[in-house]
């Protein structure tokens, strides 16, 4: 697609006084809950923050297909295979809408992909963990899509129009994924002893990484205040994490599964579940590339890209030839 944002970058930059006025007017629109659209003036740092956030989100959808793809050919029934295929297809679709939303801000999909493949861009740390048994597919749907929904529901009201609209559609599908994941866990938790063990093992491995999906705790979160003012963010990381824990703990108990946290306790007064300290060292290591599957995930994306290069070249070459033929035809 053609990106309107690119044209805008060429227009003359406002003077410092104009910039202040524009920023005030911009903030006033946001405070009034108006949506910002691609052609509207916006501060450069607002644009940059959004491009970073939306492209990270898009990358997460794409990389997130890999751990699930790992079980696609081994799904234990045809119904489960069909559901999982539909899910990964949805995730690819989410990646597409999100890249398109980011493109409206003037960054091309190619640029974003290059950043992913070079290792410069980040994606959700959760996908750097391995899927080791079938219950992991249930745990991913239940916990990972569940955490994604917590993060994304507020984004349906994000100040940037194209992002908020993409999120409305994405959230509907994510909640479907969450229910399907929980259903897998239910069947496993109520199945044979071996299945029950798989379910508990999956929960043990995915619980803490799911809590990490909400990002650093509020004290250490660099962008929170500005993003809240811009209504790119509506709740802090810790608020969302607490919400997730409060919703998820009873779901685990309902299945008779144990949350792998000895400090977990219900605060009778507030009704919130208190939980133990996240291993922030692990979080940092996974984010900086040292998780169990970082190298594999990036390697898989790179090799798909490299092996597909002749196909993409063919597509362009064919389109060029078609154009030449039709202009030769017109000239004749």
């Amino acid at each position: 697609m053609y990106t309107q944002g690119l044209d805008q970058a060429d227009t003359a930059a406002p003077s410092p006084e104009e910039e202040v006025q524009l920023r005030d007017a911009f903030q006033a629109r946001i405070d009034a809950e108006e949506k910002i659209e691609p052609r509207d003036w916006m501060p450069e740092d607002y644009r940059r923050t959004l491009v970073r956030q939306i492209s990270q989100h898009a990358h997460s959808e794409i990389v997130g297909m890999l751990p699930e793809g790992n079980w696609l050919t081994r799904a234990p029934s045809l119904k489960r295979k069909a559901i999982l295929l539909a899910k990964v297809q949805d995730e690819a679709g989410h990646g597409l809408y999100l890249y398109s939303a980011a493109e409206t801000l003037g960054t091309s999909r190619q640029e974003m992909l290059d950043q992913l493949l070079s290792g410069k861009a980040k994606y959700s740390s959760i996908f750097n963990y391995p899927t080791l048994n079938w219950a992991d597919i249930g745990a991913i749907g239940w916990l990972v899509d569940g955490a994604a929904i917590m993060n994304q529901i507020p984004l349906c009201r994000c100040s940037y129009g194209p992002y908020s609209r993409a999120m409305v559609r994405v959230c509907k599908e994510e909640s479907f994924h969450q229910r399907q994941g929980y259903e897998i866990m239910t069947v496993m938790a109520r199945g044979t002893d071996e299945q029950r063990q798989m379910a508990q093992d999956a929960l043990n491995r995915w619980w803490w990484p799911s809590l990490m999906m909400f990002g650093p705790s509020d004290g250490d979160s660099a962008h929170t205040a500005q993003s809240m003012a811009w209504k790119i963010k509506r709740f802090t990381n810790d608020e969302l994490r607490q919400k997730f824990v409060d919703v998820t703990v009873p779901q685990a108990h309902f299945l008779g599964l144990e949350i792998p946290d000895p400090d977990l306790a219900l605060d009778e007064e507030t009704g919130h579940w208190c939980f133990g300290e996240i291993d922030w060292q692990e979080f940092k290591q996974v984010l900086s590339g040292n998780g169990p599957c970082n190298a594999e995930r990036l390697g898989a994306r790179r090799s798909a890209h490299e092996e597909g290069s002749w196909v993409r070249q063919a597509l362009l070459a064919h389109a060029d030839k078609q154009r030449e033929r039709s202009s030769a035809h017109e000239a004749a």
Binding site: L72, T73, L96, W134, G191, S303, A304, W310, V311
Partner: protein, 255 residues
Amino acid sequence: MTTCDQKDLFTYVLRLGDSGLVLGQRLSEWVGKAPMLEEEMALANMALDMVGQARNFLSYAGEVEGRGRGEDALAMHRDVGSFSNLLLVEQPNRDFAYTMVRQYFYASFAERLFEQLQHSADSRLAGIAAKAVKECRYHARHSGLWLVRLGDGTEESHQRVARALEDLWPYTGELFEMDEVDRRLLEAGVAADVQAMRTEWREALNQVLVEARLPLPSDEIWMHSGGRIGRHSEHLGHLLATMQILPRSYPDANW
């Protein structure tokens, strides 16, 4: 209800289900490896269609058989020798050109097959076919477009797709084979006359290949056969080993 041999009907429906299942399994191997995001979606979508068709055919086959085997019992608890899919669909993905040629060969055939089966005297079969025909028509269009793009693309893509055509061509004869089961069911108005579809299938392929600047392979070569009676290539065993691992390892479990 039709008056035909239930054993024949079981064999016939099972073959359709097995081809759908094996092709769906092959296509799902592509997830995470496609050359671009749009194809990631298209391949997953085609895989999903094929698995969906397989589920319909296999459940029906199980009912016809009447021994209590459902779709999963048939998919997960049979060995290579009992699978009756076409040899074409078990051939490995190799590269995008192979995958698209295989898809075009099968979908363009299945589109015609299901067009006829929509009018089968067996109403269940007719119902399944009516849904499948739309899917296969889309698959044929999508893969046909890629044959053109690859054939008329770069030197490399042209060579790759030409090679795929040549290598997969010997598996196309089996699509149009008819044995006693097919003939008896054709007479009963249940089965389709696939032999009669060959010319039209070739003609459609030829149109695509002209646009793709690729030669139509010759029919004068030896065609492989045997998938429909359980004689397969070495590839199928590996595909089944992967697909069946969980239900085979935990036979008492429900998933």
